[in-house]
Amino acid sequence: MRLLNRSAGRLSRHRRGPLAGLAVVLLGLLMTGGLYTVFSPAQAGSAASSEEQIAQGRELFLVSCAFCHGQNGEGLRTQQGNGDETQFGPTLVGVGAAAVDFQVSTGRMPMSRPGAQAPRKPVAFSDDEIAALAAYVASLGPGPAIPDESDYSLEGMSDEERQQAITNGGQIFLTNCTACHNFEGSGGAMPRGGAAPQIRGVEPRLIYEAMLTGPGQMDSFSNGNLSPEEKRDVIAYLGSMEDMPNYGGFGLGGLGPVVEGMVAWVFGIGLLVGAAVWIAAHTTRSTKKKVDA
């Protein structure tokens, strides 16, 4: 106590000094700021920029998406001439940022025209714009967020665990995915002009988002359905297939027996019939003149 009194006394000697006022003001400001940071609501700081992002997203949305999805992402139903109602664009309330990131960063949205299939095409927005759109749609209702890389990377796993993940992923892939996407992820046909796209060579984040949100005719594999670890394993399996050398030679598009049959006929039979023609054209001759034998 004595020590404290002494130091307080020493400080007190400066209380009328020229810099005392300035120091007190600075101290006050620091304390106010500090206390505010401690006690204020946590998101208040990011709220300003997020709100900005959402506003920017809304601007973009109104220009590029609202025509089909409605001004507030409520979806659009149109009346056909015969009185039937058609879904023009589905509602985006609750689809989450993951769906937006998947659809827009693969160029599938905005669609160039309505149809059975939204094909992958050049991306129309910059990364910031996609993030803004995602933030806006996410603000419409709770939905899956854009997955983080840590969700699907095998970082920090032992070799054995990785191997286990790949094998496990292969089984999940063959059970849930190959029926539409083909055994090599080469894609397959869906009714009425739709198609399950090729998923070989697609970025892991997009595959994860597709599983999470079920774009187009695809089922959505929620976390209750396929746990995040299982999703990670599927991605690990697909990655391992890409790293794998083509043991059998050219893969022929990984489309199965139709292409194999075509190669047998065009290449095999083509070459062998050519060989037959060649053999028949080269025969023993007694004269140099070509004979009609």
């Binding site: 046909a189 002009g193 059998g248 194999e260 028949a280």
Partner: protein
């Protein structure tokens, strides 16, 4: 007569043959025991006519040899068992997974046996080529009329080879027990079950209980490596023996008649050609096995009835019934608690049987309609039998459209088309397409016949444009070389069909017996068969054509040999020792 071994003197000791050389000694040793000389003397010099299309069947023969060789290799490692094992081989993605021994040994063959994957792929490619070359050969035989008497039975044997080859292929690609082959067996199970009344019994008999059971792979293996190959070998032997017995058909040409065969002898020419061709077939198969992935079983994973993959198709030769199944509307009848699945039965159980029966009977149908019971050893050009050619083209069109239907999903994704639209289109096209193909081909053949006649009568177009004194232009025609003209004209005159059976009345005014309704049908068919046929020119017409040409030559005589020089290099003439005139 060989007189070297006959005694030349009246000496007291008998004449003895000189000591033969080593090869002769071996041949003599074998001949004394096996009597080879008699057989060889005739067959080593057996003559075969030369044409590329006669070697198409050989592709099938040689790919069958490749199949035997690679197949034996595969049997050394393949385990035809459905016993469950845990995979511990070197393919990472499936390590630790439970699977059948058949699949595990297929993986072992692919990854752990040296050269195993190459052998597997060669075996599979050779199988594809085997069936494909049989079909190409079949088309050649049909289009040239080589199936006619006396070769109808060899056609039947060939058809049996084709269907056995197809079954052999099916049993083969079902063996690895991967997801694709298991799906194929599941489909086969469904087809069997679609048989009314006895379907489920047959299925249980086939699988030794409920699908998939544990017996199907061992059973298919026995069929694949023993039963069908044995039958194939026997039928191939019969096919070849009949070929030797009948002698090979040949194209008409100078010196070639129904009574002879013009060509080169077996030894040395054909032995070298056929032997060389074997190595070419082997080489192409090895090239394909080394370069192109076929049936990557490791990617399909082990079969599990709960799984399926997009792009599940059979190999190409089973593709057309699969296509028929794909485009068949879903018709079913329910009577007395029994379901008759027309949607499976019609395209898979009835259609192939009907098509195969038609194929088998084609030579007999042809002979019945045309009434042609003569022996034929000279071939016909496809154009000279327009209806026959058109009939096969119609069948090919139907086959091709079913084929397209079998790959409708791949076509849909590659052409960004709707699989439904493709299916609707094909449902109509498989009926309309063959009709259009028939009409077009027939008219095409007839036009070609007309063109042949034109060339025979008025010569070929030389491309030399002549200007007359009046300033008119005409193209000069020159007669075909003799041998070429002979080859074109050496065909039978088609019978002229007119009137109807029973129109003939004998001297007493009694009409000839009509032979009933069947004969009437046959008459109608024969009328259609030969309708609009173009007969080859008669000798009188040819004579007149030649006179006409000579007359034209006379007219053109003043310009003969001027300015038009060089046109003898038109490919129709021998130009040995000819030189362009220097101006």
């Amino acid at each position: 007569m060989d007189t070297t071994k006959v005694a030349k003197t009246n000496a007291t000791t008998a004449a003895t043959a000189k000591k033969p050389n080593r090869a002769g000694a071996v041949a003599g040793w074998a001949d004394e025991r096996l009597g080879l000389a008699t057989a060889m003397k005739k067959n080593l010099r057996k003559v075969f006519p030369d044409h590329w299309s006669f070697m198409l069947g050989e592709i099938a023969l040689w790919s069958f040899v490749v199949l035997l060789l690679t197949g034996v290799f595969l049997t050394l490692w393949f385990t035809p068992s459905m016993g469950e094992v845990q995979y511990n081989g070197s393919y990472d993605q499936l390590r630790g997974i439970h699977m059948s021994e058949a699949y595990a040994s297929s993986l072992r063959l692919s990854f752990d046996v040296r050269g195993g994957l190459l052998m597997r792929q060669m075996h599979h490619w050779a199988a594809m080529l085997f069936v494909a070359s049989m079909m190409v050969h079949l088309l050649r035989v049909w289009f040239t009329g080589a199936y006619r008497k006396p070769r109808e039975l060899n056609w039947v044997i060939g058809c049996l080879l084709l269907i056995l080859g197809t079954l052999e292929g099916f049993t083969g690609y079902s063996l690895p027990d991967d997801l694709l082959s298991g799906t194929g067996i599941r489909a086969a199970d469904g087809f069997v079950k679609a048989t009314p009344v006895v379907g489920s019994y047959m299925s249980f008999f086939m699988f030794g209980g409920e699908f998939p059971g544990e017996s199907i792979i061992p059973r298919l293996y026995t069929v694949h490596v023993l039963l069908i190959p044995g039958l194939l070998l026997a039928l191939i032997a019969a096919h070849m023996l009949l070929l030797v017995y009948h002698k090979h058909t040949q194209w008409p040409g100078p010196g070639r008649t129904e009574q002879n065969v013009v060509g080169f002898p077996m030894l040395p020419v054909y032995a070298a050609k056929a032997g060389g061709f074997f190595f070419m077939v082997f080489g192409v198969t090895a090239l394909m096995g080394a370069l192109f992935t076929i049936n990557p079983v490791w990617k399909y994973g082990p079969y599990d009835p709960s799984k399926v993959t997009a792009g599940s198709q059979p190999d190409w030769y089973m593709g057309w019934p699969d296509g028929a199944l794909r485009i068949m509307p879903g018709l079913e009848t329910h009577i007395w608690g029994i379901t008759i699945s027309w949607n499976v039965m019609l395209p898979i159980l009835i259609l192939p049987v009907v098509m195969f029966t038609i194929l088998l009977l084609l030579p007999f149908i042809d002979a019945w309609i045309t009434g042609d019971k003569r022996d034929h050893h000279l071939l016909e050009r496809p154009r000279n039998a327009p209806t026959r050619t058109a009939l096969m083209v119609a069948l090919m069109t139907m086959y091709g459209l079913f084929w397209i239907a079998g790959g409708n999903d791949i076509i849909a994704i590659k052409l960004h088309a709707s699989i439904n639209q493709i299916t609707y289109f094909l449902r109509v096209a498989v009926f309309v397409g063959p009709v259009i193909a028939f009409v077009v081909t027939r008219r095409w053949c007839i036009s070609l016949q007309r063109k042949d006649n034109e060339t025979l009568l008025h010569g070929y177009e030389t491309g030399i444009i002549m200007r007359s004194a009046e300033g008119g232009y005409s193209e000069r025609h020159l007669p075909l070389p003799e041998s070429r003209a002979y080859a074109i004209a050496a065909r039978d005159r088609d019978p002229v069909i007119d009137g109807h059976p029973g129109a003939e009345v004998d001297a007493n005014g009694v009409p000839a017996p009509t032979g009933g309704r069947l004969a009437a049908l046959r008459h109608r068919l024969r009328t259609v068969w030969y309708a609009d046929n173009v007969q080859k020119p008669t000798p009188a017409e040819l004579e007149e054509g030649h006179h006409h040409a000579e007359h034209e030559h006379e007219l053109q005589a003043p310009v003969e040999g001027h300015a038009a020089d060089g046109h003898q290099f038109d490919g129709h003439h021998a130009v040995e020792d000819e030189h362009l005139r220097s101006h």
